[in-house]
Symmetry: none
Subunit: 199 residues, 4 copies
């Protein structure tokens, strides 16, 4: 999702990559993404706005989607960490509410959509996206495991299926947009998951 060799060989020969250029590119991408949308976004335009050679961008990201991925990560700095209130049900409700709120911010929906779109077209980026998705699943998985250990959730539930039941409808509405992603829907999702899997 990010520049390709983040923390590799600490010193390789030649001039090191400019962090200034790096930041300028990411900023320009966010700008264009939220202003004109994914369509208007091109390596050409990003280079122009960032005051950077196209090569400098290609050196770091190999596709538009990968670039947008970095910009998205930049946009959603707050990472919705595991709340861990001690109550698994409360944790789930909190996490979902935050997720559904963050998605209201302008540009976030567009970014997520463009990433899914890119993933359908570029298998390499699909892998990267899967990695990102998995990291989000892991947070919920942790909450569920904790809930089971604490006896707050029944022991025989299948976490992965449960997670699909939460994130599935979330992405579904996000992508198809046949219905809003509001806090009521967030609550409903948790309710149904708990009724299905909880004690």
């Amino acid at each position: 999702m990010d520049a390709d060799e983040e923390a590799q060989t600490p010193a390789r020969p030649g001039r090191p990559r400019s962090t200034v250029a790096h930041q300028a590119i990411v900023d320009a991408t966010v700008d264009l993404l939220t202003t004109d949308g994914y369509q208007a976004l091109s390596f050409e335009a990003v280079a122009a706005r960032a005051g950077v050679g196209k090569r400098t961008i290609y050196r770091r990201w190999k596709s538009k989607g990968a670039l947008v991925g970095a910009a998205y990560t930049e946009m959603v700095q707050r990472r919705h960490p595991d709340p861990d209130t001690g109550d698994a049900v409360k944790d789930l409700r909190l996490l979902l509410r935050r997720l559904f709120t963050s998605v209201q911010a302008p540009g976030v929906t567009a970014a997520l959509r463009s990433m899914v779109a890119e993933a359908q077209l570029d298998p390499d980026f699909a892998t990267e996206l899967r990695r990102f998705v998995e990291s989000r699943r892991e947070v919920v998985r942790t909450i569920l495991r904790r809930g089971i250990e604490r006896g707050q959730l029944r022991a025989d539930l299948d976490p992965d299926t449960a997670i699909d039941l939460v994130f599935g409808p979330y992405w579904y509405r996000l992508l198809i947009a046949h219905a809003p992603l509001d806090s009521r829907f967030a609550a409903t999702l948790v309710d149904h998951m708990l009724r299905g899997i909880g004690q």
Copy 2:
């Protein structure tokens, strides 16, 4: 999703549209889609392979996604009609099983994905896709309504939420591909929906 004025003015002036050209275009699209993937698909390439002028394609479909939509329809002839066995639960299980089976056919997944991708980029096509999605939802809605009337399902369920719980995870796995769309998952989905909403 299809050629844009299917059953319009039954007879309009001038030379009628060539069904030969029409078929050649769809065939070429399916060919390219399953052979080289969505990436290699372009109006230019389709026209070349079909031996057809670009204009002739533009006259019928206004976007790549719309064109792929036609190809998809071509591929999935069977349209998963409402089973109506008399038992709502049996109907649901049957429908889901068919849905999950159809998606195994080569090219179908690719077509669905490309359509979702296109929808993220082209609002007009998003509307078309939403129409298609809605038609699929309507089938389930009918089953659910029938189940309630017959007393097979409890009366206070919200059909649309229930549908989200089924189709959500379906699309989620289809698009993210983090887990397979097998018949076991189909069964699990119906189980959870029923446990959540059924009596």
Copy 3:
């Protein structure tokens, strides 16, 4: 030196090439050539100034030099035809005087130079240039032949060598620019050629 298939199949399939675009390209080339010089001339710049797609230029000329060739031909409309005054010596003097005068016009020297430069780098264009050069030699060859027939020049001269003795120093001074191409030099060249080959 010109667009590649001048008077071929009078009607080939598809939209015919636009003469408007053609002229716009040539004009833009002449403009840029005489204004900013050969260096500043690029397909990119010509396309921009002519309001034309780059492809449209590439379709007609395959290299910068070939393009400049067309522009040059456009610039030197007057083609220094065979004078044929009845007197071979007079003809030669007249032709040379005209040649040396035409080369004074701004841009002509630059165009000729750039063509020679391109010919050194691109064998294909070298062939084209050779064709142009040969056409100029033919004019002189005709004059000489006529002079021999009329008994104005002695019979045993070798026309091609004689022509080398005239055009050789001409191009030499044109390219190296170590001395001016003035009318005195023109006269001297004819004098020496005649002293060397005449009766």
Copy 4:
């Protein structure tokens, strides 16, 4: 034509320039020039093949043509010195024969052509080339002057015009390549020059 400050301050501060690098650059240039031609020659390519930083080349030569000039000098070690046999006519014949022979060596023609091409595009290099050309003219000028003093050539000839009559056709055939640069042509050139200017 050569490295720009050959015999400058014999000892200047800092690390002295590596003669190893210098030679590697020239060798790589000759290699590329004779192998892939002038087109494939670029500072970038030379640096890569020589295993040298681009800067190191720029430090020594300021243009592609200047660099090729050095390579040319490397290729043509023998410099065709003034023969001075005592007989001006014999001297001229000898010099021309040598000149026409040297040009047969592979790569020499290409180098000369590329230098002329570069001179048409880069005024600075044109000056350098003019300097080189003048040095070659000076040799002939000396022979002619000596011939006049010795009474072997008539006193009223204009040396510079005479030289144009020899070198002009030489370069003409070299650059346009409409006819070969063989020894017969060498002889013919001297013959005609003498008939034109000699007693």
